[in-house]
Symmetry: C2
Subunit: 168 residues, 2 copies
Amino acid sequence: MYSIGDVAKMMNISTSALRFYDRQGLLPFVERNQAGRRTFKPNDLNFIEVIDCLKKSGVPVKNIASFIQLCMAGDGTLKERYDYLDHQEAVLTDKIQAMQAQLDFLRYKKWYYKTAVEAGTEAVHFLPQTHAVDPETKAQYQRARQNATDLHQLIDLPNQSTSQDQPD
Amino acid sequence: MYSIGDVAKMMNISTSALRFYDRQGLLPFVERNQAGRRTFKPNDLNFIEVIDCLKKSGVPVKNIASFIQLCMAGDGTLKERYDYLDHQEAVLTDKIQAMQAQLDFLRYKKWYYKTAVEAGTEAVHFLPQTHAVDPETKAQYQRARQNATDLHQLIDLPNQSTSQDQPD
DNA sequence: GCTTGACTTAAACCTGTGTTCAAGTCCTAA
DNA sequence: TTAGGACTTGAACACAGGTTTAAGTCAAGC
């Protein structure tokens, strides 16, 4: 049996977050001792692992609560629980693909600035006499990328490792 | 020149979100006409594309504003802008890897419920006489996965396509 | 000239996801 | 037996990221 503090440390979730999840109906399986304190069973960690996974996948708490409700309802909901996870799998793979698309764009912009840094001015990308980026710029990158054997050679600036810390 | 409504449609961002971004300092480059209305230049869409990419990558608005500030400051900040994007690239690849780890876990749970559905009861995964999951269960899945030639055969239940709509 | 639709602002509002606070309970160890 | 630390609750607070509302401006078409 674990206390809320034990679980917080083990799962790397704050106690206030765990209490919040409990209030939102995510932890109906957690029992209490005589003093009213939560006592987590080893098997409860399996539930919390699922909750944590769904949270990290971007599923809202209310939505997770509905899955936990299915879990509490017994074998009659097994197929529903499977379908829920199957759906979340699809949502997550879509999300990963979307992130990958953002990554591709970020890399184009890295190339854009690498090129500009090397030229000493962003003007290398501008239409003559303007401050507007040449619409051909991206196509130019895509051609360069097709011919490139090494993406990093194309987009990475040699790292002189005077790494300033960068806030996020 | 485009109105805020034009840009909203083209970029698939609500006008209220665009005004919010402007208030937060993300659109300092947008000019106004005599009537005080925002007039977006074609080149402004390049900025909005970057903003949208960073937003979709999970970068907070305040943080994006600092990048836009660099953009407005001229060629002296080119290397800083490159470093910013380089950092965001690293953050995003980490994020994608984390998502992939959640996906792996979701797939284990799909297998768990597929197996349970086929058995008609979740008890196939429990330690005898208990409602606690056998700690060996996950290792059992991982072995099955190593031997599996097709992940989907392992974790997907034959789809009888009575697809209930699933809320997200 | 008047209506309509798209724009403007400031301010209020809303949701999700927690965190913090105040007041109290419980257990342990000195 | 008293001090400390970990727990309990409800309520208030915080913060991001918008959305909505109210009141007004502007240009176009009828």
